[in-house]
Amino acid sequence: MAKSICFYFQVHQPYRIRQHQLRFPPENHDYFKETTPQSNEQIFEKVSHKCYLPTTELLLELCEQYPNFHCAFSLSGVFVEQCENFKRPGAEVLENFRKLAQTGKVEYLGETYHHSLSFLYSKEEFATQVELQRDLMIKYFDQKPRVFRNTELIYRDDLGEFIRLMGYEGVMAEGWATALPDDNPNLVRHAHSIELGHEDHAIATKHSISGKPKKQLNILTKNFLLSDDIAFRFSQTTNSDLPLTAETFAQWVDESPGDTVNLFMDFETFGEHQWEDTGIFEFLRHLPQKCADRDIVFRTPSQTLDHFEAQNNYKATEFISWADAERDISAWLENDMHRNAFNEISRIEKKLHAHLASKDSEIISVLADFRKLQTSDHLYYMSTKFWADGDVHTYFSPYENPYDAYINYMNTIHHLDWRLDLLLANIQ
């Protein structure tokens, strides 16, 4: 049976927060405007030109040229929102994603609208954010997501069960040894089925997208070695096999045992993390032909799940993610600042819980801001994991250090909390 590659690209941009000083509280609540050192719009525009536009155009070409080429995207709602808000070049970026959908060869996955960690603090909020993103996918791409991926591939058995009850057929997860019985990420897996508590079960069922959930949820696991050969190691010149050619990579895929090589990575790999001059676009351009030479085809996640028989269980009793060497959730929830920020989100979420359906424009505005503050990137910026040595790692953060990230976040979320209290006092 021909082996296949399953490409999935993560497309996400957080709304970075403007500087908020304790001594001079802001006069308005445009938390996401005039951010420093670059505005959200400037960053979006820069990444669009380096990555989103050239890569979507290249993929459109590949879809046209190679009958066997397929791929998948997961677009966060906040990314799509930025496409809508920052029309130049957002409109063009969104149009390219629509064209990709129209080829019939590109699948759009489900995720939380706000790229959040909501599953960890509120199932209701989680389910709501999944629905919001789903609505966007239907609106723009006329696709109802069948396969789900959670923020940063964070997964645990109960998340799988929740997602199954919501009506999804498959989920993406990290191919990490602790969860894989035989350490082979190249096989489709069954989720280890567990039973949810009564309350969670009811929430999942309430937000179900299909009449009857599938009997079994299947899992596609990331081949992190081969994925990272592209995403992280592509331009490393120390490796003797590099610069990596499409030919060599196709050979590695061929040699990797199993049915499907799942290549999951940030879309920004193309042109932003790996700059154009590394030859990353040429690599992608030639990959389909080099794979075709070896009878390797490309399948979308849904096609992969339909095509191959699932075997053995993927069992995750603890959270697994695709982040850092630990592959756990410590990038977002490790130090005291994380826990404090997390508790604040959780506390405010409970306060807002009764007002989720409110028609009050002020409440709607607070809720929209609050959800943007739930984006996991804000917590990631607070991670102190890389600071032990005192040397500044090249750190994908708008802040100089994790402490600034925490202070600014807390100042902002407290301001939001204050706004909310004023509003709620008026309502009562």
């Binding site: 000083q21 304790l22 001594r23 130090n335 005291d336 600042m337 826990r339 404090n340 102190t384 600071w387 032990a388 040595d389 005192g390 100089e400 250090n401 402490y403 925490y406 202070i407 807390m410 100042n411």
Partner: protein
């Protein structure tokens, strides 16, 4: 195996008698080197200055009490005392003259004969030459492989030993005139002496990349010749004085911010007071403590008065180590707004007590401290924001406190001494 390198270390201060970090460094490094097999002889000036101190001269040298005692300060390090009047490595020509005049005039407590005081040079430069000659004479009997000088003030002695007895020297730069005065006047006597001493040395050792850059950019020293050996954490056992000193009166409602160091231009005390002025209107429970003394004290007092901060900014003067340690312990935050600091042992002491640290970017210790809040020394707005945030968010303090421990184990005097040993052995095995 090569024989142990026999090294003459030219020191200035030695705990418990010291006015600054140099004494701490000298002691810890010398002991660790001896433990690693080096044969170290330490030259220390024999202070006869305690009477001057009691007559109220420089409070920065309050502790010079071992002057007349002849004991060895530990069993391992041989010490040779050379009488001199250059009792502080932080002194300049003016300070010397002032102190000497005061000494000659004699306060009520001074009982030395005038004959004794005649020994000292009429100005700092003469005294430095006299000290150098004494060192050469005193060490005449011994054969040293290498001389290890500290800062410019001992450099002349090292140069004389090189010229007269052919012993090469390395010079350890703990601070430069550029740091001390904040200017880059290349014509000053001290600048020229520092430059010459480095040019004549076998190797230059310094305490941070930050200082190395100054030595290269300002003094034109070949970067290949300069090695960085950071200072380290000192292992301390709580003493009874320390435990007693911890009973500092502190109201639970109060949030304490510390400034510890000499109150002098280099340390940026005025930015500490500026910060207080920006914080107190927002939170009167935040109190600022200045532990230290120095030439800028009158200016600082005037500044406190001008801003009306008498209730919130407290000046304690120079504190003995036990009391200082206690303050580190009790403080909720510490600010080091130094204009230029080659290393800044204070920073290490703050981290050692797991106290959250706001520190100037112009501070060499930054290179080895991961978890701190970094600022431009003059940016009192940012320091004020950090102070208020530290007060408001206990989790921020807790994260800084717990993470402070992260690289403590790696930064030991043993590790730093073995770097020095390498340098010694490289030059003695030639």
């Amino acid at each position: 195996m090569a024989k142990a390198p026999k090294v003459l270390v030219l020191g200035w201060e030695y705990p418990p008698v010291f006015s600054g970090g140099l004494g701490v460094v000298t002691k810890n490094l010398a002991q660790a080197l001896v433990a690693q097999g080096a044969d170290i002889t330490l030259v220390l000036p024999q202070f006869i200055t305690h009477k001057i101190v009691s007559s109220g001269y420089d409070p920065g040298v309050k502790l010079l009490t071992f002057a007349n005692s002849a004991q060895r300060y530990d069993d391992l390090v041989n010490t040779i005392h050379v009488p001199t009047f250059m009792y502080s490595p932080y002194m300049n020509a003016g300070d010397y003259k002032k102190a000497l005049n005061q000494y000659k005039k004699g306060g009520p407590d001074v009982s030395k004969s005038s004959a004794e005081s005649d020994v000292y040079g009429e100005n700092l430069w003469v005294e430095i030459d006299r000290f150098a000659a004494e060192v050469v004479a005193l060490t005449g009997e011994n054969d040293f492989d290498l001389v290890h000088a500290q800062d410019w003030i001992t450099a002349e002695a090292a140069i004389q030993l090189k010229v007269k007895r052919g012993i090469p020297y390395i010079i350890h730069i703990h601070a430069t005139e550029v740091d001390r005065t904040g200017t880059t006047n290349k014509d000053s006597e001290v600048f020229k002496r520092e430059q010459y001493a480095m040019q004549q040395s076998l190797r230059v050792v310094t305490v941070s990349q930050y200082t190395k850059k100054i030595l290269v950019d300002q003094y034109g020293i070949d970067p290949e010749k300069i090695l960085v050996v950071y200072n380290a954490y000192e292992k301390k056992v709580p003493t009874p004085e320390y435990i007693k000193a911890r009973q500092f009166p502190k109201n639970k409602e109060e949030f304490w911010v510390l400034f510890i160091g000499r109150v002098t231009l280099q340390k940026g005390p005025e930015y500490f007071v500026d910060t207080a002025a920006k914080v107190v209107p927002h939170n009167p429970n935040i109190h600022f403590h200045i532990a230290g003394d120095g030439d800028m004290m009158p200016q600082i007092r005037a500044q406190i008065k001008k801003f009306g901060l008498e209730k919130n900014v407290h000046c304690h003067g120079f504190l003995p180590p036990a009391k200082r340690d206690a303050l580190y312990m009790l403080a909720d935050a510490c600010i080091i707004p130094s204009v230029s600091e080659p290393f800044g042992l204070t920073a290490i002491e703050v981290i050692d007590h797991c106290t959250p640290l706001i520190i100037s970017k112009n501070c060499g210790a930054n290179e080895i401290i991961g978890h701190k809040l970094e600022v431009d020394f003059h940016d009192s707005d940012k320091m004020a924001e950090y102070t208020l945030a530290l007060q408001k968010y206990p989790e921020l303090r807790r994260t800084l406190r717990t993470k402070a421990m992260d690289n403590k184990d790696r930064l030991t005097w043993e590790a730093q001494a073995s770097r020095m040993m390498e340098i010694y052995e490289n030059h003695t095995s030639l």
